[in-house]
Amino acid sequence: MIEQPNLKYVDDLAGDDVAFRQQFITILKEEFPKERETYIDHVENKRTKETAAIVHKLKHKFNILGMEEAYRLAVTYEKELLEGQITADAKFKMILDTIAGYIKNI
């Protein structure tokens, strides 16, 4: 079962700052779908270097969303992409789908 994203880190940081929490969610809703699309475009066209760059960006979001296993997978995947290998595309896409579903409901 894929681990589920959460907003614990952001909630801890925000405290009573509702505006910050909302700002974070707005940015997440804006940035994530674009980055997901970019990932799919690069990986489907086998642009491994560019795919590695977008995986690097996305892994930061995994971390912020408390997805430690997904983060570790992304770290390995990024390295392999830099060596020209596309190894974990299916798993990575599943993680992206999970986050996309989560974002719709926050």
Binding site: Y9, D12, L13, A14, D17, F20, Q23, F24, I27, L28, E30, E31, A53, H56, K57, K59, H60, K61, N63, I64, V75
Partner: protein, 236 residues
């Protein structure tokens, strides 16, 4: 204290800006999504601290650090630790924060920044003077590198295509120019008082109209160098 935040991701900038707001005396005056715009900004005004992402497309954080001539204190922010060891080779880099940064870790980092900024004035203060006095210079004599302590050197004289370095015990003949050795000497201790002479300022015994006495050596003062010598004297 003021700072800027450089990160190509809006989310990361928002988080660092939020963290900056949790500590006292730190204002974020600008955010940048690329390093080049930040460099342009820093050419116009100075800041105390830069929170800098390493991995940015095109012009990276490392490029940024290497580009700045007089960099402010820099705290690196990154998603991984690959650059950590290399980072500390740069004197301006105070800390290395791995994302996601917790408030506790940020506070510790800010303390490091404050300490680094407080230590900065010492460079021109007593610590620097002590370093100058204790410093040394290696000269090449017959394929041997001989160490001379700065505070042992009395006078350096240009003699054609070599120089004479006079210490309290010996005189060394070195194939170099006065200009080259001058670049290696601490300005606080040494002063060129004639086109052919550099003296250790602290070794002066007395000064007559156009000459300086250092041990038993009478060194001429040129008219053009005299004002600087007089300016440096602690005259009563």
């Amino acid at each position: 204290m003021n700072c800027i935040v450089i990160d190509d991701e809006a989310m990361a900038r928002a988080i660092i800006t939020k963290l900056c707001g949790t500590v006292q005396d730190l204002d974020v005056i600008e955010e940048f999504d690329n390093a080049i715009d930040a460099i342009k900004f820093l050419n116009q005004r100075s800041v105390d601290v830069v929170y800098l992402d390493i991995h940015m497309p095109g012009f990276t954080g490392v490029d940024f650090v290497q580009t700045l001539k007089n960099p402010p204190k820099i705290v690196l922010t990154t998603s991984d630790t690959d650059f950590a060891i290399e980072a500390y080779e740069y004197e301006c880099i105070v800390d290395y924060l791995v994302k996601p940064v917790t408030q506790e870790r940020f506070e510790k980092s800010f303390q490091k920044v404050k300490n680094a900024i407080v230590q900065k004035p010492k460079v021109n203060g007593s610590e620097s003077q002590e370093t100058d006095l204790e410093g040394d210079l290696y000269i090449n004599i017959d394929r041997r590198l001989i160490k001379l302590k700065f505070n042992e050197i009395l006078v350096i004289e240009a003699k054609g295509d070599y120089i004479g370095v006079k210490t309290e015990k010996e005189e060394y003949r070195v194939h170099t120019t006065l200009k080259k050795i001058k670049e290696k000497l601490p300005e606080k201790l040494f002063l060129q008082i004639h086109r052919s002479f550099i003296i250790n300022f602290t070794k002066i015994i007395d000064i007559e109209d156009n000459s300086v006495l250092i041990e038993k050596n009478v060194i001429p003062i040129s008219r053009s160098n005299r004002p600087e010598l007089m300016r440096r004297l602690n005259l009563l």
